[in-house]
């Protein structure tokens, strides 16, 4: 049985297939409401992430299945020092599939090496979060009709933003993608993303510090949070923070069919007034996240 640890575990063909199933679920949810009758999802959240956990749980309930699990390490045996391997071997006796979030990088891989049931990585530290990337890909597909031929801007904290790195990794396998990287100098994209993903796959990319200079070129704008604690000085933060806040004024020069995305939660990097703009897609992204998790669980559980 297969697991999903890294977005690149899935071929582009398999991603396409998941997107098609998700689209079909959106069109015809009733046809899927009984597909996982009698199946159990265990959500093992060794660190809390309410929105990701709820998305997995809602996905399983909408497939007619059941959910068990824990939502923080304190309430689990990990607090008593149990190894990931032992926890997983135990839970595998009760569940058919596991969604796991863990503060340590690589923990879901360790889990998958110790069980026969599928493991879904629901975030391992700052490392991978493949179902977020799947939600992003479904959103791009639904907004743009394809995963090829568009210009996507990533704006904000590109250094620590794992959602950005994973999405770039996923997109680097498609045709005609142009990437525009907008960030303060201190939060520029790590070098390995440029060399091992963008350059290696011959993806055209540019780097800038000014969102306003490039916004008119974009088909998709992927915003991320710029956290205060990432800055070297308070002065620097105050100087830069506004340039990475998206508001209606900055959108004036943007394309009419721009899709504004954000992995959420947001703090203030997208002004609330943008929510009513047709170009805002971040709440659709949340909903898409649930549908793609439904499609993923159907696939991993090999439910027809």
């Amino acid at each position: 049985m297969r697991s999903l640890i890294n977005i690149l575990d899935l071929s582009t063909g398999e991603i396409e297939e998941l997107i098609q199933v998700a689209n079909d679920i959106i069109k015809n949810p009733k046809a899927y409401s009984d597909k996982c009758r009698g199946k159990k999802l265990a959500t093992l959240f060794f660190e809390p992430s309410t929105r990701t956990r709820l998305s997995f749980e809602a996905a399983m309930y909408e497939l007619g299945g059941n959910v068990l699990g824990f939502s923080e390490a304190m309430s689990s045996s990990a607090a008593k020092g149990e190894s990931v391997a032992d926890t997983i071997k135990t839970v595998s006796c009760y569940a058919d599939i596991i969604a796991m979030r863990h503060p340590k990088e690589g923990a879901p891989l360790v889990a998958s090496m110790n069980t026969e049931i599928p493991i879904i990585n629901a975030g391992d530290g700052g490392h991978n979060h493949p179902t977020q990337t799947l939600a992003d890909l479904l959103t791009i597909y639904r907004e743009k009709g394809s995963l090829n031929n568009f210009t996507i801007g990533f704006c904000g904290d590109l250094k620590f933003g794992r959602t950005v790195h994973s999405l770039i990794a996923a997109l680097s396998r498609y045709e005609g993608i142009k990437v525009v990287l907008v960030s303060p100098k201190e939060l520029r994209i790590p070098n390995y993303v440029k060399t091992e993903l963008l350059e290696k796959n011959k993806i055209e990319f540019t780097e800038t510090t000014e969102l306003e200079e490039v916004i008119s070129e974009l088909d998709i704008l992927y915003m991320t949070r710029v956290q205060r604690e990432r800055f070297f000085s308070e002065e620097e933060y105050l100087r830069l923070k506004d340039s990475y806040i998206l508001n209606e004024e900055k959108l004036i020069n943007a394309k009419k069919d721009l899709a504004v995305m954000h992995p959420l939660p947001r703090v203030n990097e997208i002004s609330v007034s943008v929510d009513n703009d047709d170009r805002a897609c971040y709440f659709k992204q949340v909903l898409n996240g649930k549908y793609i998790r439904m499609a993923l669980m159907l696939k991993l559980l090999e439910v027809e």
């Binding site: 863990h102 990088e105 490392h127 390995y192």
Partner: protein
């Protein structure tokens, strides 16, 4: 070249970068063997100019992955009844387990002591190994 008795049954670790033989000797725990071992330093070499050679007069098993990781240019000759029966060119191993350690403090190997530290060769040209768990690059 210096005269050293040819070995009957054993292995010759050849084309070691000059000066590296003692490091290998310790890495392979050769000090624990009681057979005769010859270490030849700075032997002339067409390919390397100078090289080191280790001759071990016993048919022992050697961890080729470790050797390949330390120096992929090394060759291993196996001698049986005085005859060269196998000449092996090493290469960087695809998977390396228990040789180098992941130093990323956010990696699961930092808290789970039982886990084997395993690395995967992700870029042969630039000799890049990454931890299979956290994908951090090895810096050894």
């Amino acid at each position: 070249m210096m005269n050293i008795d040819p070995i009957k049954n054993g292995i010759v670790i050849d084309h070691i970068k000059a000066g590296k033989s003692m490091e290998l000797y310790h890495y392979l725990n050769l000090e624990n063997l009681d057979c005769s071992i010859a270490i030849i330093k700075n032997a002339p070499s067409k390919k390397l100019g100078k090289k080191d050679i280790i001759k071990i007069d016993a048919a022992i098993n050697i961890d080729l992955d470790v050797l390949g990781y330390i120096d992929p240019d090394i060759t291993i000759d196996t001698i049986k009844d005085g005859v060269l029966v196998d000449k092996r060119h090493l290469e960087l191993p695809e998977i390396l387990t228990g040789v180098i350690k992941c130093k990323n403090p956010r990696c699961i190997t930092s808290t789970e002591q039982e886990l084997a530290h395993t690395f995967k060769l992700t870029d042969r040209e630039n000799r890049v190994y990454r931890c299979i768990y956290c994908e951090a690059e090895s810096n050894e």
